[in-house]
Structure formats: C-alpha cells, structure tokens
Symmetry: C2
Subunit: 411 residues, 2 copies
C-alpha cells in the first residue's frame, strides 16, 4: 500500500470478495460480502433516519426530459452525465427518459401534488435505490456509473426549518461514520462552484484516507425555495397565505465502503470495524480431525452466535490459509482452538487491528470476545483520528504552504 495505493485498493476489492467487474462499462457487481457490509451501513443509517421521523418511499427510476429541465441549474449539472432511454420495446418514445442520476425533480413533482396546507409539512422522505451517472473514469465503490445510495428529500414551511434539517442530517452522517465506521470526519461547506446543482448551500463530511487524500463521504443540501419556485410547490400557511416550501436533500452511498477500505486497511487486507463487520469473529479449529475439536468449536459457535455474527471454518484448507483469508476479509477477531486449548479450557483470540494474541478461559468466552470487539472498534477510531490530525498542517502564507507540501510526501 505504501508503493502503489491505487493498486492495493483494487486488489483488496477483488481479493476480499467485495465486488467484481461486469461487462457493462463502469458498473460493478456488489458481491455478497460487500453487500453484507452495505446492509449493515443501511441498518445504521436507517435507524437514525427513523429516530428523526423520516419515512421510506420509492419513486420511479425514470425522469422525463422535460421534468429534468424544470430547474435550470439542476439540468445543467446533471444532463451531461445521464443515461437516456429512447425506446420501449420496439417503439420509439415520444419523449426521452433519463435514468435518475438523483431524484429531486421526481420528489418535487410529487410534493406539488400532495402538499396543500401547513398541516402537510414537514415531509421527511428517504429513498434507498441505485442511480446512474455516466462517468468517464470509474473505480469500484468510489466512482461507478451505477451506484447504490440513499437520497433524503424533505419539504418544510420555513428556511430555518430546512436549514436545521440540512445540519441535522449532516450530523447524523458524521455520527454514523464515527460510531459505526470508526471514521472521524471534518464537516464543511462547499464553495459556490462545488455545490450541488440547484442548491443554495451544500455541506459535506470529508474523511482522511491512508494516502493523505480527503474523500467526500456524504453531502447535505439546503435548496431554500428555488426548486419550489421551479416546480410550483406551494402551501397555505397558518395565516391562510400561499407560500413556497423550503427543501433539503442529502445522500450517502456505497462509496462509504471505499472509505472503510482506505481508512482502516493494511498490507494484509481489509480491516473492518466490528459494528459493520458481516463476520465479527471467525472460529478456526486447529487439528480439527482430532477427537472433540469440532464438537467444542461448534459449542463455542452456538454460544457466541446468540449475540454476535460468528462463522466457523471447518473446510479442509490449512489453518495458515484460513488465517490469511479472514485477515484479507478484515474479520475483527479470530478464535483459534485446538486439542491442547480444550484440555486447558481455553482459546486463543487474535485481533485483526494489531495482530495481538490473547489466551482466554472458555468460561468467559462471550464477554471476552465482546470486550475485545469494543476495544477494536475504539482503537480503530482512535488510530483514524490520530492519522487525520497528523495530516493536518497550518499554513499562514503561501510560502509556508508550499514548504509543507514539498516536505511532506504523504500530502
């Protein structure tokens, strides 16, 4: 990873069975292990969205060309990179449809139909789906033609409420990144040039990769009432006056899996924080043909499975092969148990983040593994925070700036 970070990244994606290439340019296959991580991220985000009163909805994947064109800045930003459907079966369509690159226009059309009074506000909707943006250069999870994401779309009675929502969701993303992904983030506001096409303000959380590059990890936009004006989304307020709604949107995608790889990974492969690890502990029986080893391993598996995501590898591969395999997959804890351990009523726990080994009594195996997982989760966040802080420099003038850049090759 020190020599060729880009190649190291691609190798992990393939070797940890996270994703595979497809024959469609720029589109990837999210394999079961990668998808299981995404499912856990969805669970973490979904929980937070629900707690803050958001509801899931599903909009069509197509947008008629005329609808996409309603908001001037928005169409300018997205039209150059959309996929166009021109035929349905053998018939040429009267109007081209684009495959959604994002769904503001569809939500706006729906909101203009269902919002009448202040009693209908706020509308706090979220959608889990895939979107398509025709990209020239692609990399698995980081930038692909089609990607999985969630897009929140809300409508409010006032600018202030919309602004509160924009910041609330930015904070939810930051919280999820820190607590679940063990990735500390820096919150910021985009410049006018970089903000989302059609937004009044765009906020972002940025995380620091191992190679010193920042990765935009989620964004939250306040649209003020510009889309409402373009789509005529009005409501009767408490004083019986007609007013435009204020809107927000916010999104996070499978790119977060790319962040996990580049923040925590090492030369042995992926390193997953326990909260989003599809397998939190793997049991590797040693000398598994010897009497009692498989029975004991199975017993430990059922004990641990009551509260944890645990797997046991009883294949005929060698223990050494299995060690590397689960290291590559970033499984936080490996539990080794052989005949001698069983005699001594113990097992060996190996943590993925530091490689440290620890012999523990089988009597307390559940609490030992859980404590270790908590420790790993905390340690990954701590390490990532130190790495982030180490890569922050202050420059008061351009000369210092240039000097810092030249002297620190990891920047």
């Amino acid at each position: 990873m020190e020599d060729d970070f880009a190649q190291w990244y691609t190798d992990i994606v393939k070797k940890a069975d996270l994703a595979d290439y497809s024959s469609i340019k720029g589109c990837m296959i999210v394999r079961p292990y990668g998808y299981a991580i995404w499912d856990l991220i969805k669970e973490e985000l979904g929980k937070r969205f629900k707690e803050t009163g958001h509801e899931n909805i599903y909009m069509p994947m197509f947008i008629p060309e005329s609808l996409l064109q309603k908001e001037k800045d928005h169409v300018e930003g997205f039209a150059p990179e959309v996929a166009w459907v021109t035929h349905g079966g053998k018939e040429k369509l009267a109007e081209r449809l684009c495959v959604r690159p994002t769904s503001e226009t569809l939500f706006c059309e729906h909101y203009s139909n269902i919002i009448q009074s202040y009693r209908d506000l706020p509308k706090l909707y979220n959608q889990w789906c895939s979107v398509v943006r025709w990209e020239k250069t692609t990399r698995p999870f980081l930038r692909t033609t089609e990607f999985l994401w969630q897009e929140g779309h809300t409508a409010h009675a006032t600018y202030e409420e919309a602004q509160d929502e924009t910041i609330r969701m930015l904070n939810i993303y930051a919280d999820m990144c820190e607590k679940a992904l063990a990735i500390p983030v820096i919150k910021g506001k985009k410049t006018d040039k970089e903000k989302f096409a059609g937004a009044s303000e765009t906020y972002t959380i940025e995380s620091m990769m191992y190679d010193g590059k920042a990765l935009q990890s989620a964004t939250s936009h306040n649209f003020s009432n510009s889309f409402a004006k373009a789509f005529d989304i009005t409501f009767t307020d408490k004083n019986n006056e007609l007013s435009y709604v204020y809107q927000t949107s916010w999104g996070a995608s499978t790119r977060l899996i790319g962040a996990l790889i580049m923040v925590h990974g090492d030369n042995n492969g992926l390193v997953l924080p326990p909260v989003v690890a599809p397998i939190q502990a793997v049991i590797i029986p040693i000398a598994q043909h010897k009497e009692g080893v498989l029975d004991k391993s199975g017993e430990i598996k059922s004990r641990l499975s009551k509260t944890l995501r645990v797997t046991m590898d009883t294949s005929d591969k060698s223990p050494g092969w299995k060690f590397s395999e689960y290291e590559m997959k970033g499984v936080p804890v490996r539990l080794e148990i052989g005949p001698k351990d069983i005699d001594a009523n113990q097992a060996v726990l190996v943590r993925r983040d530091t490689g440290e080994k620890k012999t523990v009594s089988l009597d307390f195996i559940e609490s030992e593994v859980i404590e270790l997982l908590c420790d790993i989760q905390n340690n990954l966040l701590k390490k990532a925070r130190e790495s982030l802080e180490r890569k922050i420099y202050k420059a008061e003038d351009i000369t210092t700036f240039e000097k810092i850049i030249t002297e620190n090759k990891d920047l």
Copy 2:
C-alpha cells in the same frame, strides 16, 4: 366492491395512501404507507431466505444487447418489452443496453467467472431491486412498467439439487403468504406455453381474489442446464470431470400488496393482517382536551410500543373522521379511550376484520391487544381459505363446466 371491483381497487390504492401515479407512463410512486408494507414483506421473505443459506448481492441494472441475446428463448420472451438505453450523456453508445427486465443473463455471466469447482457450489444468491417491463396496460402493484421485487438465482451441481431448490423456494413463498399475508395459495406447474422464457419447468403459487379471479403471486423456475450451456458455466466435479451447472430462479414482487388488497379488503377499505401491518394498533383518545386523557393515552402507547407497532392520533380531527381514516388504512386494532374509560380503568378495542368491540381492563392491555391481533391474523387466513374453497368447483365434462360457469356469476 360488489359493483365495480376494479374501481374499488384503484380507490383503495389512492385513499389508503399506498401509491400515487407519476408522470412516467405506467410507473407508480410507492408512498410511505405502501412502502412500509413492502418493507415488512421483505423482512418476512428475507428471514426465510437467510435461514435457507441465501446471500444478497447486487448486479448492474443494465444488460448489453449481446448478453441478453445469448439464450434464445429468453431473448424472445423479454426483448419485446424492454426499455433501451442508447445514449450516455451526449454520446451514442456503441451497443444498446436494456434496463433489466430480470437478471438471469447477468447472473449467468458472473457465475461463469466465479464457479470453477464443485467446491464453489451451490451458489445461493438473491437480489432486491426494481425491474422494468414495457407494459401496454398497467395497474398499481398488479402490473406496472417498473416494479420492486426480489429475484433469487442459484447454481447447483445436479439437476436434482436444482429441482429441490425450485420446490423449496416455492414452498417458502407459500409459507410466507399463509403465515404473514394470511393468503392461502394453490401451488401448480405452468404449461409449456406459459412457463418462463428459458425455463425447463415453472412453478407458481396462485391466490384467489375476492372477485373470483386467480392472481399469480410468485414463481419458481428450474432451468436445468440450458442457461449454463448458453453461457458456458462449467465446473470440475468430484471425479475431476467438466460438467455444466444446473440453475434456478424465483421471484416475488410488490404485486403481493395488490393481493393483500384484493383478498382481505372490504367496502370500508384495506384490511391488513397484523404481521405485515405498518401500524398494528392505533390509539384514538376520546374528548382528548379533558384532563388526563392525553396522559393516559400516551402511557398506553409507550406500554404497547415495547412489543407492537403502535400510533396515536392526537390531531384536531373528530374521532369519527379518525375511525374512518384508520379503517381505510386497514389498521387491525383501534383502541378508544375517553374520560369514562379512564375512571373505569378500561379501554375499548375494535377489530378491523369484524368490527367487533370489546371493553378490556387497562391492567392487561398488552396481552389483550396481542391476543386480539393473533385472533385477527388467524381469522383472516380462515376467511380467505373459506373463500378460496367456496370458489372451487369440480367439472368432469365440458357441459358441467359450462353450467357451473353460467350459474355462478362470481366466477
């Protein structure tokens, strides 16, 4: 519903806030209440898929024209009804891409890359996504241009294993329909003319709607090795010989929501079985401005919310309006509580399926509501089963057949 069943159906879809029309022909918006039902169906199916060892995966939404054409019967069946993407941004694509109508071809291409040995089998994959089929006439949930579904795709070493899987999944669908949706089904095999494009055998579960029509509710296909031959998916078997894999696919969609409406609904609206009801009980405070009513209602809500999906309506609408609203939405149990009830330490429970009222003590409110929900779930299945059986007639010859059809206008 007796006079115009089709209109009654469409009214419920709109009035119960299940779905809305969009400006894209044949595509619908699944609104939060409808989507919440879908989420519960997903949970019920997902649990069963996981228990039988299936893993989730995500494939691209596009299929290159040449890939779709690899299996002769398959392309003949689907090509006439797909949406074609011809442009990415401003560029015309070298090869047209279709938006997936189903993903056999993509799974086959992936399987041909990742399956080498018998050790790699079986592959038990499932995908949750939306698919597009260019339909001439559409109806919300029953037949739409785009719809949400799951598609399972598996690969096995032998025909027998594939056949076992095909039947296993058919049984899982049947089990989910009966236990969760309270819809009894009839399992059957499709004729050669009706089977899935490319399949060796297609099995179906059919359920009986209120108007006497059958609805195909899920299908399960055994492909034998025909796709494997077309896509060259081979593996080295235990005797070190090269062999083609045997495949299956199986799917269920948001059409199941249409079945729920048409099996259980009545002239007051939707009737939902508790297992898939987003709101299992609604609390309606009576004379809510009187002292203590809201406090007591809130207390009951928190007690019930520990195990159930409960909502409380404290809006300024009249109780009568609220009763109709939650009847329309099919909420299984309504709990009414007013000042007199509070004095008597009781509440009134009204069940949606029969309209029966029951006064119960607040001391046992949790168990009273849970028992009632179980009773409703069982009663809906019983009623649906009776309705199914009542609509089955036996005809030994064509004359009897014609006579039965003529004499029974609900057929």
